[in-house]
Amino acid sequence: MLFISHVIKTNLKEKETDMNRLLSALFTGLLAVFAFQGSSMAQDAGNSGTEKQIQYEALSPWADVDPIPMRGISPRLDSLKGKKIGLYVNTKRAAMPMAKSVDKRLKEMYPDIQTTIFQSTEPNVNEIETKNKEKFTAWVNDIDAAILLVGD
């Protein structure tokens, strides 16, 4: 192990001059970050301002996105009386009992309300991208409003 270490050391010395400037800057920078963070409280308390600090211009890491067509949500109902409400249930285990609870309460509040439950079968996939696309589309077209229950 010592021999290997010696060889690596030797190689490092030989090649040190080839080291890229950026590399030096990166590590100098990293050390400086630790130094600055370590002393940040002291600086905040009373930096004399006499020490000239290097200014950097940092590029944004935040990605651009393509503009997507914005859509408003559907017009609201005047009342739920006599309406057909769809309850969409995802694959999480609490979703279905929640839907049943919502269903029961809606019927208590609006005795003439109709409800229909759609159970998703594929976790975390847009319903219209699943094998249930047609069934789902038909379900959506048959309701006046929807409540989504995701179990989380």
Binding site: A25, A58, S60, P61, I68, D152
Partner: protein, 413 residues
Amino acid sequence: MLLANVGFVNDAHSAASSKGMPGIRVIGETVPCESTIIADIEEGVAAAMKDAVDALVRPLTAEEKSPKQQTGKSPRVAFKGTLQEINQFFYRKGWGDGLPIIPPTEAAVAEMLKGTDLPPDHIMGKIIPRKGKATIEKIAINAVMAGALPTHMPVLIATVEAFSDPKARFDTFEVSTGSWAPSLTINGPIRRDIHVNSGSGSLSPGNIANSAIGRAVGLIVKNIGGARKAIEDMGVIGNPGKYSLVIGEDEENSPWEPLSVERGFTKEDNTVTVFFPNSFTQTVPGGTDAKGILNTLVTMGTTSMSSVILIPSWAKVLAGEGYTKQKVKDYIAEHSKPVVISGFEEVTNPAKMDTENLMILVAGGPGSFIGLLKSVGPGFFNNALVTKKIVLPKDWNKLVAKYGNLVPIYERY
């Protein structure tokens, strides 16, 4: 309208916005997540019903009717200031990971871009949930922040390509409550060029390649994909692997073919294999013969989407007793009990457990421990291991000459 647990309201709004419907009404409820207790469910639903009904009948606002179009572009230069000011600005913007960053200056990013022949505006994919455009430049910016080297760029680019592969199910794993972390296994000669540790302490801090590549991946996920902790990334417990979970296979000390060859590449190809485990466990084998090692792998709960990390000496024991990688997998599959997740019986479908996505990896140093990174699948999310070829720039050798001698030298004390 959507009924979601109060802790998921922000997540729901982000999801709706990313699909172009920011106005969707989300009502927070207090049902304990994934509850199996009917009384708790009834109580939580009852408390939310008034607001739920209101959300269906309250007239729309102008913004809900016709949401404003957003440009989706951010200024190229984010901030000018000292090292400390930049670090604090980035941290407050939510662009960091809690550790200091290297300022991604024009010069530093230009140097990072030497790690690829692709142009800076080339888009490797759109990373969910925000569908951020993963341009080569944005990958490089996040790589600089993480302290990665230009020689790491090819791995990062291939990793982003893997994330964009639907089979990886990055869309689910990266934001899931399960706190799955991206695991990268690197194969091929590049491991030596960039000093990916595949020996002692491979998954511990201390090697730039293993540490900075994983860290850069985490920043890419956050800043390009827009998966921010507790906003879109809803990992409940979290996962230290999200800082970095990068390992190389110790091909030189393995008696078997490398993972890359198993996955259809040649030994000369450089590859990265991606999956998303959420747990890591280690144990000593119950015995040091083949059966002792194999039975330990079974009792560790190896799933069909796992990475078994065998030290070279155990791999040699197994090979010596006639076990190939496939025979090891077959043994595990034959003797393991099916994994069934309560409430998800229909999608876990244990009868279909297979070995296609089970990795047997040779790595680690002297000692006795066996490592196991566990995930779920492929039945769960229709997910699979994804392996992508790492493409090197034409001046790779020059780049390696610049950075290749950067290794830690520990002195005796």
